[in-house]
């Protein structure tokens, strides 16, 4: 039987990322499996509600997983009040993550928009850790304004990973911004890899993923080399509540990471 009862979990640290985003480090309950890059957990605030949050980092040894949360809904806004030492409810890990096993010796292009970067960060960590196992790493990241950029404190770490390119852009620059301006899809022109030896992982707002996908297809990426992490309303995380359906797929169970060929029949359909 499927249980929807949360386990008790401890918040070991809270890190402020931007004006409306914080990262919550959660000690995984003993019963929980270690999450893989691209998987998500259901985090529950006592009496308030539960939200699906992708892991943005993982320390396997201490079994502490990071969850980067933007305060936009009724539950996530309550997250803002949580601090180190607080208890939350935990279920997971759920879903199918990024296909890291298939990436051996391949180039990886990461395209992230806004809060789409956290689900991709474990991929960056994995490549950094096992650098020789993978080909070139290209990271394209865009946010609305410089104030919305996540993890700015570790960009130099990304750039110092051998054979890695990191491009960042904002839609609306503020004073003193010297980097790229425009949507993240404009950065795809910098991607100089052989598409047949490369994979693209995309995560961000749906409209951004559509444009990014079109651009990647134009540049010769085949539909089995483009992976997308989709977002939907989720209440259960295990394919029961129905809310996350995209066409016949339960995003929580069959995804959230899908190869484009899997969903291409539905992906382009308006309001599917």
């Amino acid at each position: 039987m499927t249980t929807l009862t949360p386990l008790k979990a401890l918040i070991t640290r809270v890190r402020t990322e931007t004006w409306n985003i914080k990262t919550y480090y959660v000690k995984l309950p003993d019963e929980a499996k270690l999450p893989k890059p691209g998987q998500f957990n259901m985090l529950y605030i006592h009496g308030v509600g539960e939200v699906p949050i992708s892991i943005s980092d993982l320390d396997e040894e201490s079994r502490i997983a990071a969850h980067t949360v933007r305060f936009v809904g009724s539950v996530t806004k309550t997250f803002e009040l949580l601090k180190e030492g607080d208890i939350i409810g935990f279920r997971g890990p759920y879903g199918i993550g990024w296909p890291m096993d298939a990436m051996i010796n391949k180039n990886i292009v990461l395209i992230a928009g806004g809060i789409g970067l956290p689900p991709l960060r474990p991929v960056i960590r994995e490549v950094a850790r096992n650098r020789s196992a993978y080909g070139k790493l290209i990271i394209l990241y865009g946010a609305r304004t410089p104030e919305d950029l996540l993890f700015t404190y570790e960009y130099s770490d990304y750039e110092s990973i051998p054979d890695t390119e990191f491009y960042v852009t904002v839609d609306k620059p503020s004073e003193g911004w010297k980097n790229n301006v425009g949507f993240v899809t404009n950065l795809i022109k910098y991607v100089d890899v052989n598409p047949s030896e490369s994979y693209a992982f995309v995560c961000g707002p749906e409209i951004m993923m559509k444009f990014a996908t079109q651009e990647l297809l134009k540049r010769g990426f085949k539909t089995n080399k483009i992976y997308l992490s989709l977002e939907r309303r989720m209440k259960c995380g295990v394919g029961l509540c129905g809310h996350c359906q995209m066409g016949p797929y339960f995003v929580c169970k069959h995804g959230p990471v899908f190869p484009l060929w899997f969903i291409s029949k539905y992906f382009w359909v308006d309001q599917i």
Binding site: M1, H46, E206
Partner: protein
């Protein structure tokens, strides 16, 4: 599957069957007239069973008259097997989580129609072995089915191959044929129930009549489209403008979801309680509800036509990919209980007629 072939008993044997199930300790659930509507409820005596009324159904309309044969009301077995609200867990102030234990109950549906029997078969694919409450009730569930000799104005079980005659999964199926009751057992329990009646193997004349009645009933319950190739045809027309046309009069009330015997979507309500604990309650939700596809900061199906299209495609196409069966059993409830009488049969036909761009 029939274990016995057909038997005949006197029409008033139905009451004996009811009493026997009571004697065996079953909680009997069947149709009863409540406020001018057939409701599925626990029945204490056979007199409460609505075997002498007829429901007149058409798109957006429902009424009862005395005499004749009933079909159903807005309730379906789902209301008992997958209740509208169910507490999933409670977490104390000290973070001790507890899951309610569900009382074991031996439930018998009495006089259920073949479409609703089929809905249980559909829910089995979705919930059996997954949902604890459903599975525990389903294990001991008894199904006494009344074959439908007179399908109603919104019925299309023949098209969906779910009726008007039940073919399998029942314990006992009966057909009211004038002063006779035609009976068929589908399980050991069904055989035991037959044993308490005075039955004879069906005679040629009654059998012929039975066949004619069922054949005529079958003709009455057609939707005007064929299942053959339907999922693919509908998906090919996924951009059909018909959904926009049809939903011009849709209110987005999700009545169709609520009365559908197979719609299984749920929302959860998290509530803090006065003692410092908190509980989560599962409540029915439906894809026609505005919030169904809404997330903080976005909406995946803001327009009604997109939500209605999901309903239609889920029932006739996606369900097959998800669970290996259609999600529609042709009961017609979504048509009858739609406040504006939107007719699912007409929608499907229009989409098929409209061609790829229509």
């Amino acid at each position: 599957m029939s274990l016995t072939g057909l038997y005949v008993a006197r029409a008033d044997s139905l009451g004996i069957l009811f009493s026997e199930l009571r004697r065996l300790g079953y909680v009997i659930v069947g149709y009863r007239v409540v406020d001018g509507v057939l409701r599925l409820e626990e029945l204490d005596s056979f007199d409460e069973f609505a075997h002498n009324v007829e429901d007149i159904q058409s798109p957006g309309k429902y009424s009862l008259v005395s005499g004749g044969f009933y079909r159903h009301g807005p309730d379906s077995p789902k209301r008992f097997l997958y209740p509208p609200t169910l507490t999933l867990f409670r977490v104390s102030k000290e973070w001790v989580a507890s899951t309610p234990t569900y009382e074991e109950r031996n439930l018998a549906f009495f006089g259920l129609k073949p479409c609703d029997l089929a809905s249980i078969k559909v829910l089995d694919r979705v919930l059996l072995g997954v949902d604890e409450y459903y599975t525990s009730l389903r294990r001991n569930l008894v199904l006494v089915v009344e074959n439908c000799t007179s399908p109603g104005g919104t019925c299309f079980c023949s098209t969906m191959n779910t009726g008007p005659r039940a073919r399998d999964t029942f314990d006992l199926a009966y057909t009211r044929l004038g002063d006779k009751l035609v009976l068929e057992a589908g399980s050991e329990l069904g055989l035991r129930l037959l044993d308490v009646l005075e039955v004879e193997p069906i005679d040629d004349a009654t059998y012929e009549r039975f066949e004619v009645v069922m054949r005529n009933a079958s003709e009455k319950a057609r939707a005007g489209f064929e299942l053959n190739g339907l999922p693919e045809e509908l998906e090919l027309r996924i951009e059909s403008k018909v959904y926009k046309e049809v939903t011009e009069r849709c209110l987005g009330c999700a009545n169709c979801n609520m009365v559908c015997p197979t719609c299984f979507c749920f929302d959860v309500l998290d509530t803090p309680l006065i003692d410092g604990s908190a509980e989560r309650v599962r409540v029915w939700d439906g894809c026609l509800n505005f919030t169904y596809g809404q997330v903080a900061g976005g909406h995946f199906r803001p327009d009604l036509w997109a939500r209605y299209r999901h309903f239609v495609l889920h029932k006739f196409a996606y369900w097959i990919k998800q669970f290996g069966t259609y999600g529609c059993v042709g009961c017609g409830r979504c048509i009858t209980w739609c406040p504006t009488g939107i007719d699912l049969r007409e929608t499907v036909k229009k989409v098929l007629r409209g061609g790829k761009d229509g």
